[in-house]
Amino acid sequence: MNAQTDPAQTFREEAADLLAQLEEALLGLEQAPGDHELIDTAFRALHTIKGSGAMFGFAAAAGFTHHLENAFEKVRHGDLAPTSDLIGVALEAKDHIRALIETPDEIDAGRGESLLARVAELVASAAPQAPRVPSPGKADPASGPATWRIRFRLAQDALVRGTNPLLLLDELRTLGNCTLVALTEGVPEMEDIDPTGCYLAWDVILTTEQSKATIEDVFIFVIDDAELTIEQVPAGTDKLGEILVNRGDVAAEVIETAASNQPRLGTLLVKDGTVSEDRLRSALAEQTHLREVEGAKAAAAPPPAAGSIRVPAERLDDLMDQVGELVIAEARLKQLVATSHDPQVKAIAEEIERLANGLRDTTMGIRMVPIGSLFGRFRRLVRDLSKELGKEVALTMAGEETELDKTVIERLNDPLVHIIRNSLDHGVEDTVARIRAGKPPQGQVHLSAVHSGAQVLITIRDDGKGLDRAGIRAKAEEQGLIPAGTDLNDNELFQLIFHPGFSTAKQVTSLSGRGVGMDVVKRAITALRGTVNVTSTPGRGTEITLALPLTLAIIDGLLVRVGNGRYVIPLSAVEECVQLPIADDLRHTGRNFLNIRGELVPFLRLRDSFRSTLAADPYQKVVVVSTGERRIGLVVDQVIGDHQTVIKSLSKLHADADSFSGATILGDGTVALILDVGHLVAASHAQELRRQAS
């Protein structure tokens, strides 16, 4: 085809005109955002490019334009304001469309995606406007999806006359969940076959919210000479017998007779010749389809009349307190009952235990909110930062539905902002550097949250250049954080970035690099009784994982005895319990080190720390605890067992007792202090360093 008769060429010229119109309209809109004529022009240009582009083989351009067109449809309906942001994106998108049409071979797919992501973001941010009234003319919304059985057989000469059954089937498929069965029973013997004839018939089981008329519409051009029946499948049928009878393939009496001859109804009916194999196959497909649809419905059905009420946070705190008291009282009751022999009292105590535990779990559940609400705030952050830094960065998320105590979520905001800023500022390279490194020009930052036991793991991963090991070491040595030439593993090295005042950025930017940031992160996470772990691969990126307790109110702890006092060590920090070898025990002078499977672990005698005067247990136990980067042993008199602990904060008077993070009341009414493992580890490390120095 020459240029005169090739519609694709005409389309290219036409598209160039339309894009020019689009640009003009967009620039005009920037001056006069309310001009409907300009909005219409922009929308129509996009619409035509989409429609005609798809016709003449510009599928990529059409697909891309489609999304932009949707956005402008919203603008047209007043659901989205033509802000300068939107116009900015649209102008860039316009250039991209032109490139898609004119130089489709030089297209970078990431660019289109990032543009669409920005459009989607703008659309999403404008979404919560007046509730949309469901558009009239649609199928009755109250009716919900129905399942239809569509059986059709085309006229034998249908193919010759240009009907393409595939198009019909494809269109049906767009209407809803669809199961297709082709019936071959109409195919004649070989010698009778007309190669151009259409002998197949189809049974389609379709679950859709559309009306019967919509389904009939699909067949509008074949209806005159096709056999077509469309019937609704009654809800609640899923027995093969019922289906066959309902389809009119078998009379009800036959089913009854056959069913009495167990075992497999279908096989029997086919063997009898009552039902053809095709019909049975189709009926079975319908059965499967119905079961799937029912299953999906059951899974998706929202709990009836689920509403929510807003409650002041203090009331929840009060409730939590009281539940805490209840749990403690229950523990005391349990202890008391253990010595009782009255089965009735025992039964009641067990009942109360069950109820108290249930109440505790429910109360904790009330405080849980999905972390998605927090993650959502970072979209804007990443967008603004990437603009400011001139880097292209896409933020992806997973596990937004993960639930976490509201207090924890609130206190996570700042640390996460710091980490994301650092990722964008120091981690992700600019486009030029990325291309040179053979990476996609657009950087990725991925946020995810996942439950892991009683903890939630929040991971922030970027695909940037990774942490600069040599830089960190040099900086740490320069600042005297570590003696020169210290042998450090990756984990120890990376933990240095959390040291106050530490920053390797050569230049101070407006975002990070002032030396505040990562130490704030560490402190905030530690205050939440969480840990920070860093892994990094040079050139591939950095991954920071925050492990946080599900709630701040209750912890699983290990109850130990030191002298006559009892203490709780958070179970999340405990690695193992071993007995202190007598030889190590006796070595009271010098450095306290324990050899655990070939690794030297320093230990701290809590008896000394707490100045216990009571005679020591002859067999001292060591509880090995870790805070991510360091392990130490805590030497105690007795390990009593695990203990679920409701945390009570210490009074203001004891606020400076920083070896303890709180207190709890034990079953017998006495108080046990909760050890602040992080602080103990740090203190012992400091002590060790002093000893080394002297």
Partner: protein, 122 residues
């Protein structure tokens, strides 16, 4: 005598494609670039079928149909939509306005030809 088809679309490439397809099959094709132009042409012409886009400047496809159906000469003329819209509500609206059929873009040339042949009965 060859049958006349009025092709209405604001996209020149679409009109060209329709014309190529249909004139190749022996139909006379008359083009109009929007609803208003189509209405003007339709009034002076005997047209056997109208193929129209939905979204057009000046007068859109729906208004065009409504106007055409008011003319006594166009009461029984088949009017087919060629559009990217596949929304059921829009289809219903078009049907109510008097559209005969609906072809969703993108489509194959043969598909268009088949529909036209079928509707015109030749």
């Amino acid at each position: 005598m060859a049958k006349t088809i009025l092709s209405v679309d604001d996209s020149a490439s679409m009109r060209q494609m329709v014309k190529l397809t249909l004139s190749g099959a022996g139909y006379d094709v008359v083009e109009a670039e929007d609803g208003r132009a189509a209405l003007a042409k339709a009034q002076g012409l005997g047209v056997n079928m109208v193929l129209t886009d939905l979204n057009m400047p000046n007068m859109d496809g729906l208004s065009l149909i409504r106007e055409l159906r008011k003319l006594s000469a166009y009461k029984g003329v088949p009017i087919i939509f060629l559009t990217t819209e596949s929304d059921a509500a829009k289809k219903g609206e078009a049907k109510a306005a008097g559209a005969t059929a609906w072809i969703v873009k993108p489509f194959q040339q043969e598909q268009l030809l088949n529909v036209v042949k079928k509707v015109l009965g030749s």
